[in-house]
């Protein structure tokens, strides 16, 4: 391997081209290297090659996804900032806005679960507070391999501790998430972290640089040798050499993050900042280039001024380091002294490392020499974009289940099996390790339909949820893509929130493979259709490709982070059943569709067939009708019907309320298994007072929403005539058992 660290080549001093091994080590193809030479009109030196490698890799350039992401709807009357900034922003009235985004940290978390997950949280927090917002809630979606896989347990423990360790220390409540096990993640776990912040509309900060000769200020932690080439690691498959790449793992320091947050908030009180951006993937390189590109100007950086943690760091290392807890600020020149004072107060480094220049170039100086000189456009708009080849998946053939398969089963045994399954079991062990009440505004903690935090000094609250459905997506990516958006929408509706916008984290395998690319394109198409129809735009996101180990890809796993607004939180709805004699209604039509259901996969061991169809009209109509009922105060508790069907959702409501239900014998034609475990979409269970039944059915009828009564709340038992009669306490035990025994 070339010693990148000791050699400094001066610009124009070398004529020799790099060999293809070095080029490959930088994650570049030979044709990309050729393009670099053309853009520069010469061959790059090693530092420049490193910079191109960082900016042109998949993670930073979105070269395989760019043309497809354009299909996503990104606008609505509530959107202040769509994709393209550090995070998306939506209007929530009263001159307030919510800034939010999701980020993946998959590869680092597999290599070092604690630090990988921790720095994932740190990164997404900076994306949010760099825009002027104070973070108010975190969520996460974590996917692991089969529980039986020897690595899974340690990865789970490490990731959960890492997420908690960072978020708890900074003092941001983690209000929701999802935890999923499937063998397709055996060699490639997913760690997606989402964060939301609150900002005053007139106090939003952007990353677009402007003005010439404005100082470029580096703040936060010192730069070390950590994480060099992290972004290119995220842009390649895992292989046997992954272990060797270990030194690139970064260590997070949440304490410094907290100081950085407070210092930035203090600096943001006046108009000192022209532009600001966190140093995320590809560190100083991507932050400086992106800010310059957006502002159509150049930057001159004197690398001798970069605060370094270690002696003799080379320009290559400084530019590519992914040390955490750092920010880059373009400052109003007159405000430098004052700004410096603030960062000194918080005990953080503050260094003037250069200035904005008119020529659209990135000029790097070191020891009085120019060691790098690259046109900004070569790194940004002229970076490669690919329209990769793809194969689309046809919708699989419907499965016909023979009746005798059901005859061997019992409803109650099936139910117990499902609620004891790792993916349905109670995730308390996970979220009790996250501080979910710090900031003292948490109205709904993890474990419900959505997390909810209120906005101080208003009646408003923000609901947020994070969802994915790899099984549906792998069966039919287009339907899967639609389904997650709808599930996210339902989760928000169920707490009484009006869904406003989403962020998305698209976790896929190798885009150079036609099948993976096809999955990606179809999922994006599905997301796009649903978002369009529901007027639920995408305001930010992240793409994570190359989630593969030894050529084995993960299931396509787009993760959707949904955000909704509750105008008056005294009307918020929770999912715990409230009191005896209230009646329960299933809203939405139950056809008993079992394809890709938990029941099919776990009980029948049948993984074939298409996922349930999505009817966007019903989805919207049902959801809006639920909101109308909530607004009119008819609904006492609500829960969407998702994985596991009616019975699993019902049990979740019973467990949450520690109260039972007497289930009515279904009058439908479908058999009991189809009725209770089918995963038809667009459905909810609501609890209402018996006395209100007429008013409620009038509203449902008026809106042409199908509904049926399904039972009555009763004391401590779940019963279905001629089938079962079981204490809720027992169900709680089954639901808790798996996680407890797995961890201990």
């Amino acid at each position: 391997m070339v010693n990148y660290f000791l050699t400094i080549y001066l610009v124009n001093m070398r004529k020799v081209d790099f060999d293809s091994k070095t080029i490959k080590e930088h994650g570049l193809s030979n044709s990309e290297y050729k393009k670099i030479c053309e853009l520069l009109n010469r061959s790059p030196n090693l530092l420049e090659l490193g910079i191109f490698s960082a900016m042109w890799n998949e993670h930073c350039s979105y070269k395989s996804s760019k043309i497809h992401l354009k299909k996503l709807p990104t606008k609505s009357k509530d959107v202040i900032q769509g994709p393209g900034e550090n995070a998306g922003i939506i209007d929530i009235g009263d001159d307030q806005a919510i800034v939010f985004k999701i980020e993946s940290h998959n590869h680092p978390s597999y290599i070092e679960p604690y630090q990988g997950a921790a720095t994932g949280v740190g990164g997404i927090l900076r994306d949010v507070f760099t825009m002027g917002a104070r973070p108010i809630a975190n969520l996460n979606s974590i996917h692991f391999g089969s529980p039986k896989h020897p690595k899974t347990k340690n990865l789970l423990i490490g990731v959960v501790k890492g997420i908690g360790g960072y978020g708890n220390c900074v003092g941001i409540p983690t209000i929701g998430g999802e935890t999923y096990f499937d063998e397709s993640y055996n060699g490639n776990i997913l760690v997606n972290a989402m964060s939301l912040g609150l900002v005053k509309k007139e106090k939003i900060f952007y990353s677009k640089a402007s003005g010439i000769d404005n100082p470029i200020i580096y703040v936060g932690s010192k730069t070390g040798r950590d994480g060099i080439h992290g972004a290119s690691m995220a842009s390649s498959n895992f292989d046997d050499k992954t272990e060797e790449k270990k030194p690139t793992v970064q260590v997070g320091d949440p304490f410094t993050e907290k100081l950085l947050l407070e210092a930035c908030q203090e600096l943001m009180r006046d108009d000192s900042i022209v532009a600001i951006q966190d140093m995320g993937a590809a560190g100083l390189t991507s932050s400086s280039v992106e800010m310059a590109a957006k502002g159509s100007l150049g930057m001159e950086i004197n690398l001798n001024n970069v605060p370094c943690r270690e002696l003799n760091m080379s320009p290559y290392e400084m530019m590519l380091s992914e040390s955490q807890e750092r920010m880059l600020i373009i400052l109003n020149a007159a405000k430098e002294k004052n700004a410096k004072k603030i960062f000194e107060k918080w005990n953080l480094d503050f260094a003037n490392i250069g200035k904005t220049i008119k020529t659209k170039k990135l000029i790097l100086k070191f020891n009085k020499n120019i060691v790098g000189d690259i046109p900004i456009e070569a790194l940004s708009i002229k970076a490669p974009v690919y329209d990769r080849k793809f194969i689309k998946k046809n919708i699989p053939k419907k499965q016909i289940i023979s009746k005798d398969k059901f005859n061997k089963l019992k409803i109650i045994d099936t139910l117990i099996k499902l609620i004891s399954h790792p993916n349905i079991s109670n995730k308390r062990w996970v979220w009790e390790q996250y501080d979910h009440t710090v900031m003292a505004n948490t109205l709904q903690k993890p474990g419900g339909n959505s997390g909810v935090v209120r906005i101080e000094k208003t009646n408003k609250a923000i609901a947020a949820t994070i969802d994915s459905s790899a099984e549906y997506c792998v069966a039919h990516p287009l339907t899967g893509g639609k389904q997650i958006v709808c599930e996210s929408w339902r989760n928000l509706i169920s707490v009484g929130a009006k869904p406003i916008a989403i962020t998305n984290c698209l976790n896929f395998g190798n885009p150079e493979k036609k099948n993976t690319m096809g999955e990606f394109i179809d999922c994006v198409e599905g997301i796009s259709q649903a978002c369009n129809y529901l007027k639920y735009p995408v305001v930010s996101g992240n793409v994570s490709f190359y989630n593969e180990t030894k050529e084995k890809s993960i299931k396509p796993t787009p993760t959707i982070g949904g955000v909704g607004l509750i105008k008056d939180y005294s009307k918020m709805i929770t999912m715990n059943l409230k009191s005896e004699n209230n009646i329960l209604i299933v809203v939405g039509k139950t056809l008993g569709y079992l394809g890709q259901s938990l029941f099919s996969r776990i009980i029948l061991k049948n993984k074939k067939g298409p996922p349930p169809e999505i009817n966007l009209f019903n989805e919207k109509n049902n959801g809006e009708t639920i909101l109308e009922l909530i607004d009119k105060k008819y609904i006492l508790s609500a829960h969407d019907i998702s994985t596991g069907g009616i019975l699993v959702s019902l049990v979740e409501m019973c467990i949450a309320g520690n109260i039972g239900v007497k289930i009515d014998s279904p009058k439908t034609l479908v058999n009991l298994y189809e009725f209770f475990f089918g995963e038809d979409q667009g459905r909810y269970i609501i609890e209402i007072k018996n006395d209100n039944f007429n008013e409620v059915s009038n509203i449902l009828d008026k809106n042409s929403v199908f509904f049926e009564k399904i039972g009555t709340v009763q004391k401590d038992k779940l019963t279905l005539k001629n089938e079962f009669d079981i204490f809720i306490k027992e169900l709680i035990d089954y639901n808790n058992k798996w996680f407890k025994s797995y961890i201990s």
């Binding site: 070092e112 630090q115 040798r225 030194p247 260590v251 320091d253 270690e310």
Partner: protein
């Protein structure tokens, strides 16, 4: 047999704890302390006949549990 294990962060890895401790020492008015790194220390009571066997067991434990070799090194010492 009692063995001790010292686990330290690799040199190039950030040590947030060491950094804060060092600053605090400075703030307390103690001079001339130029660098501090924090690590972990373990005492193991291993019932093996000879030191070599105990040591190899300790090594195994370090690799599999006590040290995170991605970011840490370890050292076994004989008390």
């Amino acid at each position: 047999m009692k063995l001790s294990v010292i686990v330290t962060l690799k040199k190039e890895v950030l040590d947030p704890q060491g950094k804060v401790i060092q600053q605090t020492i400075g703030n307390m008015g103690i001079k001339n302390v130029s660098n501090i790194r924090q690590g972990k220390y373990f005492e193991l009571e291993i019932n093996e006949k000879n030191y070599e066997m105990a040591k190899s067991k300790a090594e195994d434990i370090c690799k599999r549990l006590l040290a995170n070799l991605v970011i840490e090194d370890f050292k076994i010492i004989n008390n």
